[in-house]
Amino acid sequence: MGKVAIAILCVLAAGCGGGGTAPQALSADDAAYQQKLQELFLDAKPGSVIEIPAGRHALDRVLTLRANGVTIRGLGSDKSILSFKNEISGPEGMLVYASDFTIEHLAIEDSKGDGLKVNDGENITIRDVRVEWTGGPKTTNGAYGIYPVKSKNVLIEDSASIGASDAGIYVGQSQNVIVRRNRAEKNVAGIEIENTINADVYENTATGNTGGILVFNMPNLAQPGQSTRVFNNKSFDNNLANFAAKGAAVASVPAGSGVVVNSNPKVEIFDNDIAGNHTANLIISSYFSTNYYNTRGVDPKYDPYPRAIFVYGNRFKGGGDSPDGLELKTLKTAMFGINGHFPDVLWDGYVDTKSLVNGLPPAAERICVQNGDAEVLNADGPNKYKNPKVDKTAFQCELPKLAAVELPHS
């Protein structure tokens, strides 16, 4: 009896002695819909509109688009849902290599990799798209929710990303970008602008992430980023424990970060409501603080300093009271006591010493904080936090304001 039962179990498990696990097959209806949808993606040409009907459509394979001038349109990000829970071939939910592309009013759920990736496109509109990992924040979730990369003229609006194991809305190596009125929750990084030139990030809400809004420059890439404006956003209570895999760029972001600028020049941060972020409401830092710097692996031409950062008119509230990581915790307690808190702005203190004139960076490259009572903690990272100090007057400077981003198609 026992042996028979085991044999039957083996058959049921369909994997006894084998390494692979058979993925769950789609229902006949879903399989038929997937085939139809795949054909629409294959046959799309300029002017095509692919409509996604209401309902949760289970798919097991990435949807790839290569034709320019295509619109993909659902009936609402809570109504037309593409679910990739059983994905066997991807890893993205949707992968777009095309220009003049619009996607709107739909949701992409539970893809194994990125939700929506747009690579090397021009004139991209992403509107009312929700990308979500429905099981909550997990390291095994896909890396990026909405991910345009190497693209030009990108508009992301009224969209949402929830649960990405790296960045929710992640704009990489792009030019002329507007990210507005979006919602980012329970991601490691809510919104991340990386190696991008000319980005306006406004009227977004980032909450419940590890870090709310990030502006980063990574080494070794063809395009160093610059000129990002972050304004009129709400970034609050981003205190989720960092669940990124180690080694990922955002794994270095401490839980409780409202807005983070890392190694990216010409960043203007103003008129935001930034509150309740336990490490600091605003962090300004260098690649040297990330643990990834090494001379062999990083291009010597890479500029790891955050230069020309202008912070003004933000409404900071709370935060800084329970920083993430032993070093910062120790630092906070030593300087401000158990019940104290970091000032609103935490700067790791790395400066390009070669550029200093009379001990200060050139006027055009300074960090300027003209934000009412807001103070800056220079954590003295280069000396292992030996001589941290709070200052305000040293940051009383002004920088020319950046121009607004204008998109030809918005």
Binding site: G15, G17, G18, G19, G20, T21, A22, P23, Q34, Q35, Q38, E39, L42, D60, R61, V62, T64, L65, R66, E87, I88, S89, G90, P91, Y97, S111, K112, G113, N119, D120, T139, T140, N141, A143, Y144, V149, K150, S165, D166, Y170, G172, Q173, M218, N220, L221, A222, A244, A245, K246, G247, A248, A249, N291, Y292, N294, T295, R296, G297, V298, D299
Partner: protein, 386 residues
């Protein structure tokens, strides 16, 4: 006077007739447009009862080091219209004439005693039982010994290359166009009897482009294997064993090269007599280089895994990842010299989980022997990341 190609074709046709040739006399059919619904419409390869046979003028070829595809064996063929030929290129894919048809049949040796439609297939590198003749593939595959899964057609049309996937039926008599791909449950059986269930994924047309669009700006599909460094090797043809580039030249299929010895040549990744570095770089070149090159879809990562990449950070040495996400596997650098266990690259090769694994498509199993090779190579790399 008979030209060289006609002569060889005559001999081949005669040889075919001797072996099994009961075939149709229809020539290869180049479709200038459209998508023929059956593989046999092309008349490139066809089943004639015991064999999957090659039509006249259809030449089989092999690569020094090939892409891993879930342990599938591959029969590659090329055909060009009479009087046309490809132009040699030292580094890139040859410039093929309109009308060129490349086919690639993915198949497995059958396990002993397995029925024709059995999903159990052999996991082996041994190809000796695959062919209808002691020659490598010119006389086709022996259907009694193999399980055909899919045949991909790459056809050079006026507007460029197009890719069409065909999936073999259970009776193994015909392959049918599957534009949207397919998924086939199979079971790999090793020599020691170990079994591994897996899903063989046939790509859809857009996924074909996922590898074959090697230049994101032009967006043109191009063959990957038909480059000098991959083709520069000997092949056992029915009548002769000789260098493929030489053979193609003699047939009139290739112009612009006089001496194959002067052409680039990748190592055979399995040939332990060749230097470890050459084997590893050949493996990375064909498995990763079609995306990870300066113009490819993975140029977002600054990682170049082609044979041309310098031995530095852009090959991954001490390089922090850009957008690997959870694909880091908790590791900090793509390659940590001397330390494969801390390197991202073999971690992603070892994984068979979408979102982690590399390459992103084209396999659902792990290429164990490939991972071992790359780990050995990284172990032999010296220096530190500091």
């Amino acid at each position: 006077m008979l030209d060289a190609r006609a002569w060889v074709l005559c001999v081949c046709a005669a040889a075919l007739a001797l072996v099994a040739c009961s075939r149709t006399s229809q020539p290869v059919h180049f479709f200038a447009e459209g998508r023929p619904s059956k593989l046999s419409d092309w008349q490139v390869i066809y089943t004639d009862g015991p064999n999957l046979a090659l039509n006249a003028g259809v030449i089989p070829y092999d690569l020094n080091t090939a892409l891993f595809s879930d342990y599938a064996h591959k029969l590659r063929t090329i055909w060009m219209p009479r009087g046309t030929s490809a132009k040699f290129s030292a580094d890139g894919s040859f410039d093929f004439p309109v009308g060129t048809i490349i086919s690639k049949t993915f198949y497995y040796p059958r396990t002993k005693g397995a029925a024709r439609d059995s999903i159990a297939v052999a996991r082996t590198y041994d190809q000796s039982a695959d062919f209808s003749d002691k020659a490598q593939g010119e006389l086709g595959l022996k259907l009694a010994n193999v399980h055909l899964v899919e045949t991909r057609i790459l056809v050079r049309r006026q507007g460029g290359w197009e890719a069409l996937p065909y999936v073999w039926n259970a009776a193994q008599t015909e392959a049918v166009l599957a534009r949207t791909g397919d998924a086939k449950p199979l079971e790999l059986v090793s020599d020691d009897g170990t079994k591994q269930a897996f899903t063989y994924v046939v790509p859809n047309e857009n996924q074909c482009a996922g590898c074959h669009v090697v230049d994101l700006k032009t967006k043109q599909i191009a063959p990957i294997g038909t480059k000098a460094r991959h083709l520069n090797r000997e092949y056992s043809y029915a009548m002769v064993r000789e260098n493929q580039l030489l053979h193609w030249t003699k047939l009139g299929y290739l112009t612009g090269i006089t001496d194959p010895a002067s052409a680039a040549k990748n190592a055979d990744w399995r040939d332990v007599a060749q230097p470890l570095d050459a084997r590893a770089r050949a493996y990375l070149d064909i498995n990763c280089g079609h995306c990870h090159n300066a113009k490819g879809p993975a140029n977002t990562t600054a990682l170049d895994l082609t044979i041309f990449a310098a031995d530095d950070r852009y090959l991954g040495i001490c390089k922090p990842p850009v957008a690997a996400g959870r694909g880091t596997g908790d590791h900090f650098f793509d390659i940590v010299p001397g330390n494969p266990q801390d390197s991202i690259l073999p971690y992603r090769m070892r994984s068979s989980e979408p979102g982690v694994m590399m390459p992103e498509q084209g396999r659902t199993t792990t290429h164990v022997e490939g991972v071992v090779l790359i780990e050995q190579w990284i172990s032999a790399t010296t220096g530190r990341c500091s």
